[in-house]
Amino acid sequence: MKTSKKIGLGLLTLGLAVSLVACGGGKKADDTATGGDKGKGADYSAALVTDVGGVDDKSFNQSAWEGLQEWGKENDKKKGTGGYNYYQSNSDSEFTPNLNSAIDDGFNTVFGIGFKLQPAIEEIADANKDTQFVIIDDVIKGKDNVESVIFKDNEASYLAGIAAAKASKTKHVGFVGGQEGEVIGRFEAGFVDGVKSVDKDIKIDVKYAGSFGDAAKGKSIAAAMYKSGADVIFHASGDTGNGVFSEAIDVMKTKPENPVWVIGVDRDQHDEGEYDGGNVTLTSTLKGVGTVVKTIATDAQDGKYNGGKTEVFGLKDGGVDLTKGQLDEVNPDIQKAVDEAKDKIIAGDIKVPEKPSKK
């Protein structure tokens, strides 16, 4: 009895701790006051609500925030109400409160960064018809004040698949996903298809961690994959991927003669792969969240908000891409194959599937 009480209280504490930290982040929104200069579109303001994680997560949120900051600087906006700002979500339960704060602070356009915000925006949009919402990575249909943005991650992952297949010496590669679902499914489908396009006999391990923040699990999954013979792992798993990098570095330090690689996701993860004997990041897929946020904010300021529509960004318009990374050092042919495939995808000669085939 006493022990169960103790654990219960412990969990409660954990919850409180997380939400308290969250409040700290949220309050930041108010400390810089309004910028009141007039001019064309001067009254227009935009804010974003992050997915779980901060605006310096070295990934998705950071990229979006950088895009919004760039937009703000170009348009002489100040950080804070009436200009541009961010609301940090530290847990799923903070999406709705953060969206509400953004609306209350009078922002014209509110970006929801990440598919996890989809239900919250869908619920809130009808009650706030004057606010323009943008949801990244998911689709909300039939609402005039919600614009949906989707990335063709499957196209960039296809290129990653080609790179992995060409770089693998053991003819065995791996994929580590965060949570199973539509978005990460696109990564998996593209990657698998890319690998198969090079060589149908390459073995592909696909494994989901069930979380975007469990580095320990990422590490054990990667350990299992590398040990069973895979030598390139593509991770689409947020912070869980830290564990994948950590394992790859450990493997390289113990057995440098059999090189293993990691392919990063969403932004250039070269730094994550660095260690004192080299770097395990083969390449990274890129997702231009920042560019898209900037473009949409600029358009909306000029009165060109595409409410109710779904916009798709792919290789063609630079919405996604693959970095050069260390491809050339491994084998100069890889970049060539990647570029060829890229041209074909842009030309429409290759159609990359969006959903993983059923096993």
């Binding site: 654990i7 320990a216 450990d250």
Partner: protein, 317 residues
């Protein structure tokens, strides 16, 4: 097959090492009668300070950095646990409330300090020197066993096992341990026999701070490689569970922590074991929790903690 076993064991050890340290810390504290729900917060502080120490001194200590950073994390853990000790022993605060304060304070404080030290970033830079994998000389050449237990494995886990054995010896075979336990069972009786009750309670809490801080330091330096709010997310509470599961006895506490690690790594690696391959993955993912429930129900009887655990001792009464 040996290869698969080797991955299961080494993954389990990587996962369990921080839990063993922290759970042993909790054992010391509770043996002295102070409930320490603040283990999670202490781990967070330990992880943060070890990361910062590692980042700033890696040029001086080289490959030894993670170990020294681990001790440093422990020392900061002691300082932090003193808050809990002062509040519960001298100020007679409720143990749970004080522990909760520790847990609330640590994430806020560390994230704030991270932002101050690392130019407003939400996480630290990546550390250069990690624990990595260790092979034990000679032992690794034992056929089969060497491959499974001593090759490319987690060194901190073995240190944790040694600490557990040492902790068992200290708690059950030394004068200090006898006094510590007596204070946790019946402080009045201990006091009448001339034992410094407050001193023993301080010692218990401070040891838990040291071990908890080291646990956090091990977690960050062997798993994530950088400190952020998600580095310590629940390990402190799992350690408490391991402590209760292990009935406040260092050796069984250690076994409980390893059991948690083992079931976790089985869930991850199960799909590569031949005879488990055809099992739907949902069973493997549920396995850690089912196993825990089964073991608790079938093999563990009543878990009885120290008798005066959680009660404030007032000397004059």
């Amino acid at each position: 097959m040996v290869g698969t076993l080797a991955i299961i064991v080494s993954s389990a050890l990587v996962y369990s090492a921080p839990l063993i340290f922290t759970a042993l810390g909790g054992t010391f504290s509770e043996r002295s009668g102070i409930v320490n729900v603040g283990l999670e917060g202490i781990m967070t502080i330990g992880a943060f300070s070890a990361t910062v120490f590692n980042l700033f001194t890696v040029n001086i200590f080289g490959a030894l950095t993670p170990w020294i950073a681990m001790l440093f994390g422990g020392v900061i853990g002691i300082l932090f646990s003193l808050i809990h000790a002062v509040a519960t022993v001298n100020l007679r605060a409720d143990h749970i409330v004080s522990g909760t304060v520790i847990n609330l304070m640590a994430p806020g404080l560390t994230v704030f300090l991270t932002k101050m030290i690392f130019d407003g970033h939400g996480q630290t830079d990546l550390i250069k020197a990690r624990f990595g994998k260790t092979s034990f000389p000679i032992l690794k050449d034992i056929p089969v066993l060497g491959e499974i237990f001593f090759k490319d494995t987690s060194a901190p886990a073995y240190v944790a096992v040694l600490v557990a054995i040492l902790a068992y010896y200290v708690i059950f075979k030394t004068k200090f341990g006898l006094r510590l336990r007596s204070v946790g069972e019946h402080p009045q009786a201990a006091d009448t026999l001339g034992i410094n009750v407050y001193g023993m309670k301080y010692a218990g809490v401070m040891i838990s701070g040291f071990l908890g801080g080291m646990g956090g330091a091990v977690a960050v330096q062997s798993i994530s490689g950088q400190f952020s709010i998600s580095t310590i997310a629940g390990q402190g509470f799992i350690s408490m569970a391991a402590m209760i599961f292990g009935k406040w006895n260092p050796l069984t506490v250690m076994a409980a922590a390893i059991f948690f690690g083992l079931s976790q790594s089985l869930a991850v690696i199960g799909s590569q074991i031949d005879f488990l391959k055809n099992l739907p993955s949902v069973y493997l993912q549920a396995a850690p929790y089912v196993l825990t429930v089964l073991v608790l129900v079938l093999f563990i009887g009543k878990s009885q903690g120290p008798k005066a655990n959680g009660q404030t001792y007032i000397k004059s009464k």
